[in-house]
């Protein structure tokens, strides 16, 4: 008889306990996923259980409109954009709290994680009342199935963001709940976010002093670049920083921060290497063309410094390590280093590992702030040992 040598399970491989090496970790972007039904591939299921009768009927009869990039780019590299090792026994990645605990929260020793429900990416594409019913159902499901059983989890409030009044109502319903920490919109909106069409959302967020955020995803009906529709997923995915640039330009130039001076925006998953040059370009343009936007009382970069935070994943990977230090230096000048929030994007393929993603060029003290302190300060989280 030959005894097999011990095999290692990839999921339980505790090759390291990150927390002991990194200190506390707050993961500012992780995903729970309701079920296959939300992808429009089948009917019924979990979401139906959370809808009132009128919308359950509608949902089971007509489903959801799905004009998103999943349809346009059927070649998403693999696995519905998920890590290979995040699939539960049944259901899509992100649908199983037990697996999320085991291979993510426990493995890395994560103190707090903020859920951005994946199903939100379709909500901007539904008509207003339907979108409102769906997002309410989604929020109730997140609360019951994720936040209540798992004290380390927090969540974003999903809103029907293409109808600002209905979105504001959902903000009023949930913003004061201690486990809902921000309002979630998707990056691909119908109009740039500075548009007055969205201002009632901002008014509600300001009233409750809750941060707003945008996350990758959505389908506003526009070609996804200012140069028209590209052909490949790699262009869609690598093009997100350009979408975030358009939103920052719009939010600043259209005067949102003069109208709502306390707003805090979290730009999730859009990168951060573009912030310096965009500030330089905005400031020069303001000196040149400021008469067009007399409502701007300050330099554009001043608004950028004051109102925006950024999650780190997918981490910037410059060509040479020293260039990350150069980038950090520029961000320091712009007071952005205290606005970087560590995130993993679990369970997606472009996941950032808590112990490896932040490069060595980031000084230890900065690293601690990025991993937990900045997020604790922004969201008012009480985390042990936070610097």
């Amino acid at each position: 008889m030959v005894q097999s040598p011990p095999e290692t399970s990839p999921r339980t491989d505790s090759r390291r306990t990150a927390r002991s090496r990194t200190g506390p970790i707050v993961d500012c972007d992780m995903h729970n996923y309701m079920s296959w039904t939300s992808s429009g591939l089948s009917r019924g299921g979990v979401l139906a259980d959370y809808l009132p009768d009128r919308w359950r009927d509608y949902y089971t009869t007509f489903g959801m409109r799905t004009p998103n990039s999943i349809a346009f780019f059927p070649t998403r590299p693999r696995n519905m954009a998920a890590r290979d090792d995040t699939w539960p026994e049944d259901g899509p990645p992100g649908s199983d709290l037990g697996l999320m605990r085991e291979q993510h929260l426990d493995l890395w020793g994560i103190s707090a994680g903020i859920l951005n429900p994946i199903d939100q990416i379709l909500m901007g594409s539904q008509f207003p009342y339907y979108s409102a019913a769906l997002t309410s159902a989604l929020n109730n499901w997140t609360l019951e199935q994720w936040l209540e059983p798992e004290p380390r989890l927090y969540a974003s409030i999903c809103v029907p963001y293409e109808d600002a009044e209905l979105a504001a109502a959902e903000i009023h319903r949930l913003a004061d709940h201690p486990r809902f920490v921000q309002v979630l919109m998707n990056a691909r909106t119908r109009e740039p976010l500075g548009s007055r069409k969205y201002w009632k959302i901002y008014e509600a967020a300001a009233e409750h002093d809750i941060p707003l955020s945008i996350h990758v995803g959505g389908a506003g009906g526009n070609p996804i670049t200012g140069a028209g529709f590209p052909s490949y997923y790699i262009e869609d995915h690598s093009g997100y920083p350009q979408v975030y640039q358009a939103h920052v330009i719009s939010l600043v130039c259209e005067g949102v921060f003069e109208e709502f001076p306390t707003l805090r925006w979290v730009m999730q998953e859009g990168g951060f290497a573009w912030i310096p040059w965009l500030c330089w370009r905005l400031d020069r343009a303001w000196h040149l063309l400021g008469t067009e936007v007399p409502h701007l009382k300050e330099l554009p970069s001043t608004y950028v410094k004051r109102h925006f935070w950024y999650t780190t994943q997918p981490i910037e990977e410059p060509e040479r390590p020293g260039q990350f230090a150069e980038l950090l230096g520029q961000l320091e000048e712009l007071q952005v280093v205290d606005r970087l929030l560590f995130s993993t994007d679990y369970p997606h393929w472009d996941f950032d590992a808590p112990d490896r993603a932040l490069p060595r060029e980031m000084p230890k003290e900065t690293r601690h702030k990025v991993l937990a302190g900045n997020a604790a300060a922004l969201y008012g989280l009480e985390i042990d040992d936070v610097l």
């Binding site: 011990p6 290979d84 393929w349």
Partner: protein, 144 residues
């Protein structure tokens, strides 16, 4: 140099892999069409369990619209970020000179030669002293 007996050959048939812990290192051992390969199970990028990734053929193209698929070349794709590594050399597709994962020698040896105490062969990680080796079987041996 120590060498490690992983298992009997029939326990790793073609198309399968096994991830074992050898001297504190996680190593993936593969049988591809009767050829054996072993790579360190850690992606040099962000540390994913590389050897749990998909084995894919090579895709190249001289220009848009033309696809040259070579199924005889085996590329191991990281389960996280999708970096591709040549299973035979551990070299990455995108930067073979500088971005690599460590390969290990794999050999098949008879139980007889192992039982004869060929120098340096440790019969099985962690279970060395309890692993009975039968002389009539063949074993997969990894040299770290």
């Amino acid at each position: 140099m120590k060498r490690y007996v992983v298992c009997q050959t029939h326990e790793l048939p073609p198309g399968t892999r096994r991830i074992v812990d050898i001297d504190g290192r996680s190593i993936g051992v593969f049988n591809v069409d009767g050829e054996y390969y072993a790579l360190r199970n850690t992606c040099p990028h962000q540390g994913a369990a590389l050897c749990t990734g998909s084995l894919l053929g090579e895709v190249r193209s001289p220009c848009p619209g033309e696809y040259r698929y070579d199924g005889s070349r085996k590329l191991l794709q990281c389960p996280w970020h999708g970096w591709e590594f040549d299973l035979t050399t551990g070299q990455s597709w995108f930067d073979p000179a500088r971005t690599r994962v460590r390969p290990y020698d794999v050999t098949v040896e008879s139980g007889r030669s192992i039982a004869a105490g060929r120098e340096g062969v440790v019969p099985g990680p962690y279970v060395a002293e309890t692993l009975p080796v039968t002389v009539d079987d063949d074993y997969i041996v990894v040299t770290p």
